[in-house]
Symmetry: C2
Subunit: 210 residues, 2 copies
């Protein structure tokens, strides 16, 4: 029965995500997961090779979904500024709706190698995701939309880092807003420095907030 298979498997994945997000990898026992999923331990080992495989599946899905969202969002903007706002908005929305997954992903990123099971290739996926942003920035430098005094990597690091800082802040302080207006503010703060100044004679460049 396909639905039953997927059902139990998804139940285990959801339970594992909940437990890993609450207690970390080492702090979560397989017993915790199967109890939450209302199945037994051998059932989990029927669907997943081991505890590590379960974790890897979750982390990989987080990075892949972020990558997909960024690509999709970038097509919805014509200028670099529009693209950035779309990307940040998409990732903010996703992060709001998947806080536990984001927590697991960031905890994985800042965990030491020995803390996690070997073979979690999160660095490659992180780099791939960053390089997508980097490619947009490089294009922005070529078209003259961005200030050529800055290095492309430094700029990409700026937006990408700032974006992630907001996501992380939302993880630590849920009251921290994570919506389109916030995305616009972040892009505005970034671009007002990064964008090549267009010789505004009276000294006030385009700015949104009154």
């Amino acid at each position: 029965m396909n639905t039953a298979i997927a059902d139990t498997q998804q139940q285990i994945l959801a339970a594992a995500l909940h437990r890993f997000a609450s207690c970390g990898y080492a702090g979560t026992s397989v017993q915790d997961i199967v109890d939450t999923a209302r199945v037994t331990k051998p059932t989990l080992y029927y669907y997943f090779a081991n505890k590590a495989g379960l974790y890897q599946a979750l982390v990989a899905s987080a990075h892949d979904e972020r990558f997909r969202l960024m690509q999709e969002a970038a097509t919805r903007g014509d200028t670099l500024e529009e693209q950035l706002v779309e990307i940040l908005t998409a990732l903010f929305d996703y992060s709001r709706g998947h806080r536990e997954l984001m927590r697991v992903a960031f905890a994985t990123a800042f965990a030491s190698p020995d803390e996690l099971p070997e073979g979690v290739d999160y660095t490659a996926k992180c780099e791939r995701n960053f390089e997508f942003m980097h490619s947009l920035i490089k294009k922005g430098l070529q078209t003259g939309a961005l200030d050529g005094h800055f290095d492309s990597k430094e700029l990409a690091f700026g937006v990408y880092g700032l974006m992630n800082v907001y996501v992380m802040a939302h993880l630590m302080m849920p009251e921290c807003k994570l919506d389109r207006p916030t995305a616009k503010q972040v892009v505005d703060l970034f671009l007002s420095g990064a964008a090549a100044k267009k010789t505004a004679p009276n000294g006030t460049a385009k700015r949104r907030k009154p």
Copy 2:
């Protein structure tokens, strides 16, 4: 014997830091720590109440040292820009020299409540440290050094977040430079947007890199 006391205690602290940084809180066993410190388990419990107390001591020292460094660095600058460069440089230097402690501190920040022992008041110390930066930014807004279009919290979030992003990047990718030139670049990127534009008629505001 005072030196012997401090010696064994420091040995345990150093070993605990090393193990916690490598394997996380839950992933580190007390046996690991005492083996690394070349003492036995009861010796550890002679100096520390429990595994949690050991961890708390380490995390608290990291945040307190960062706070002290920021305060001290701020006195070494006259303008806001100088202060920011000094602060970032000081924290970058410290982070380079204490990577394991930084790793533990950040891992703690992004860990879930249940992952760590209760009573780790890292949020209060995080807030205190952020508010110090926030106070500098508010002063910068009052003196007109910063663009009043932005919210003080948003701006403080910008620099503080950007600074921490670089520290985190250095944790993940040690080849990522973390020195005074980097600090200057970060402040430059931040201020070129956040600083009130000084009506440069030819459109090029002060910028450092040629």
